[in-house]
């Protein structure tokens, strides 16, 4: 496939582009869903094509085609340059791409068991049995199981000499038990809200042991129907690791995207409350807050060998002892900001432009534990597993709902609470972080559905996280 990508690049350069890169990307996906013991869907998707990006003056153009001949690829390259030329009708400031070392290399996700070599029958069977176990709880009306597997090959060629082949394997899934009561629904999921993915093979499914956990989430969803409603209050809040992963994704991960900070996403995804002159000075949170964007973590969903511009995967400090120190960037955005390129530019398939995306944005561990946090809290709330999320376009004002909560009284977990929510302002909230669990409770949570860009691209991001306590949080806001 390198010859197809090379033809696309040559077509762009021959038409006047000063720089071009092209990606042939082939993606195989298997999705399985089961509801109440019945298979709803076994879906196989296979797509391959080439996308070429051309720089003409300071303007970009991009053309994608699924016709994989040398001639079609060359024409796509020429068309990318023509589109870039049209972009010069409304031109931007001069653009020089940040320098990166030119690599010719291969990368392969490490896995034990290729997920597409495990039969769909076996995979569906796991979900059929899991949903049947959930239905043994009489109040559970809807039991859902989902699995998904991705096998993605990409061949990158650039006019500067990049030539990189990667094969990324992702596996994930999850269970959901829904109990329906009088005028309300209550949901519990596992391993996290919706689904959890990893850069791994089928071993990533086996290790979560769906069959063992299905009865627990079923029982909890039923118990929530008769649980107490949460009162509006302001007190210490303990979040489990998966909810903290979502909190990181929404209130840190998106806010540190350099394209948002530069205004490139202003009309859709939004901007950021962060301003570049504050880099290195802005207090994002308490001293316990240390965050990295690390694309090298084995098994984490946002890991790879090279990003889609050919920049090697790396670990970039984002927040150090509560101070904002880093951003997510690519070659063009980093150059404009005068920062080193972070290698965080990804494309959702051959037919999408590469753009700044999260890698594995997560917390470095603290020295506490969930048990210690509960024991140290006289009057607080513990919340687990995201159910709803909303945050403003500057990633500042958020309101999140969780599936389940518990009162913490005098250092012990008390009664269950339904419909728990909390709200806050990003730096104020992170500033109240006062206890953080350690390495043994850290999980590389994986989110496969991060939407951004126009046309919308779905990103796959990782978020190392563990339980944490926040000293004073407004909770229980209702309509």
């Amino acid at each position: 496939m390198f010859d197809i990508a090379s033809a696309a690049v040559e077509g762009a350069i021959a038409s006047g582009a000063t720089y071009a890169d092209a990606r042939v990307i082939g993606r195989k996906i298997r999705d399985i869903s089961v509801q109440n013991g019945d298979v709803q869907a076994i879906s196989i998707s296979e797509a391959i094509g080439v996308g070429v990006r051309a720089l003409y003056g300071s303007s970009w153009g991009f053309q994608a085609t699924d016709r994989l001949t040398l001639a079609d690829a060359g024409r796509a390259g020429a068309q990318a340059t023509a589109i870039a030329r049209a972009s010069t009708r409304v031109p931007g400031p001069p653009l020089v791409l940040a320098d990166v070392p030119v690599h010719q290399d291969e990368f392969q996700t490490r896995y034990d068991e290729h997920p597409l070599e495990v039969s769909a029958e076996e995979q569906a069977g796991l979900l059929v049995e899991s949903t049947r176990l959930m239905l043994e709880e009489p109040n559970v009306a809807i039991a859902i199981g989902q699995l998904g597997f991705w096998d993605v090959d990409s061949w990158l060629v650039s006019s500067q000499g990049h030539r990189i082949h990667q094969n990324l394997i992702h596996s994930g899934g999850g269970l959901q038990a829904m109990s329906i009561g009088d005028g309300e629904t209550q949901v519990r999921t596992y391993p996290q809200s919706r689904v959890h993915y990893e850069s791994a093979g089928y071993e990533a499914i086996r290790k979560w042991d769906y069959l063992a956990e299905a009865p627990r989430i079923a029982a909890e969803s039923a118990a929530l129907l008769t649980a107490a409603e949460m009162d509006e209050c302001e007190k210490p809040l303990i979040l489990d690791g998966s909810q903290l992963a979502l909190q990181i994704h929404e209130s840190v991960g998106h806010a540190i995207e350099l394209d948002r900070i530069l205004g490139w996403e202003a009309a859709f995804a939004g901007t950021s409350h962060l301003q570049l002159p504050e880099l290195g000075r802005h207090r994002y949170g308490s001293d316990l807050m240390n965050i990295t964007a690390d694309a090298t973590l084995p098994g984490a969903l946002g890991s790879f060998g090279y990003d889609d511009e050919g920049t090697p995967a790396q670990s970039v400090p984002i927040v150090e002892n509560g101070i904002w120190v880093g951003v997510l960037s690519g070659r063009d955005s980093a150059s404009i900001a005068g920062l080193p390129p972070g290698g965080m530019v990804r494309a959702d398939g051959y037919n999408r432009l590469p753009m700044v995306r999260m890698t594995n944005v997560g917390l470095l561990p603290g020295d506490s534990s969930l048990d210690q946090m509960i024991a140290a809290t006289d009057d607080g709330i513990l919340m687990s597993t995201n159910r709803s999320w909303s945050i403003d376009d500057r990633r500042l004002n958020f309101q999140f709902g969780c599936e389940i909560g518990w009162e913490i009284k005098n250092g012990e977990r008390g009664r269950m609470l339904k419909n728990p929510t909390y709200t806050g302002i990003t730096p104020r909230f992170w500033g109240t972080l006062d206890m953080l669990a350690g390495e043994s409770e850290r999980v590389f949570w994986g989110t496969p559905n991060c939407g951004k860009g126009q046309p919308v691209q779905v990103g796959r991001t990782g978020h190392p996280a563990m339980p944490a306590r926040f000293a004073g949080v407004r909770m229980g806001v209702r309509g």
Partner: protein, 442 residues
Amino acid sequence: MTPESTAQRVLDLLPSGFDGEVIVAAGTSSLTRFANSFIHQNMSEVGTSVSLTSVWNGRVSASSGNVTPEGLESFVDRAVAATRIAPPNPDWPGLTPPTEIPSSIPVPDSTAEASPDDRARLVGEFVAAGEDMKAAGYCQTGTSTVVFANSAGHTVSGTTASAILDGIHQTPTSAGSGHAASRTFSDIDATAVGSLAADRARRGVSSIDLEPGEYEVVLAPEAVATLVLFLGFYGFNGKALNEGQSFVRVGDRQFDEAFELFDDGLDERSTKLRFDSEGTPKRRMPLITGGITANAVFDRREAAKAGTESTGHAVTFFGQNFGPLPTDLFVTPGTSAPADLIAGVERGLYVSTFNYVRILDPRTTVATGLTRNGTFLIENGEITTAVSDMRFTQSFAAAVGPGRVLGLGGDARFADSEFGPGIAHVPTARLAGWRFTGGAAG
């Protein structure tokens, strides 16, 4: 190969004993994106996709991909292999029998022929409408030919066409939005869209923080579009109704008498196909008439469970977990000018757009989200000042419940929404109350 011959070839390749339904879509989609008043991303794609649902002895699998003519045989072989090992699927509703479909509307020449230069020209006009401001947004054009065929002998085809200009103008302290969508590229008035966005941004330069609480509101079409889409997706969805997750009670007076909602995939303004992903024809479906809940929408699977027939609202196989969806929603407009709706408000808020709206409880349609790109205080019938973005927590069904709709504008158009553009054709609406639960400061 043409899309028609590709679809037939796929069905011909299925072995004896297999049924199948195939969708072939061929088209072009182009999108020119701008920010900081210049074009920063500009893309186009051409391609053909094939989706096959194959059925054998009650076992079902779905396969899709962009397949070359030479690759069709192996594509079908893989689909057949997947079907043979799939567990039985008792919910499979069977194939759509041959059914007549209204012919599709021709693709307008201006949309089919829109070039990168044409899109750049519109972007330039939008940008120019906001002098000294920073503009951001996109201009998109797309056309496709779609063929549906199944082994029951049902074959239909249609075309889609869309042209969209959407953007904001920004000052250092404010932003305002504008939006236009049509089947016809030449209908888009970029200067008008840009001028509306610039006007909203200018009016918002100095904003105040407002105390949370319940306020009377005038919602611009973008905000109304999000409201009706949440009603449609979470309420009038036949799967949600079958599973007891919907607020909908057909025959009950659940809404204000003035609020009439219907779904009509046959409307000439629709940018979409006149059949659904199961090949069932679209139709006009009243959802709310005279304040009374009239119908929900169904695909074949959910219709069978409900003991009714499909209403032509199946979405793709991957979407069946979410159920059938109304995707051509229309609110019958009133006759008032938006300014007259504002004039009737003693103290309330004008909301241009909602943002990042998420459902908290589907049974009550309580959702939370924020205002964006132009929120203004109305006092004594006039807009007096801009308001910083506010968070709301509000039941959408209750917001348009009996006695709550105080007026509808005559300015209905396709509006952008939380779920995207081109789905809801709605006017400005004046509502008795909307619960804001937080200001920009928390």
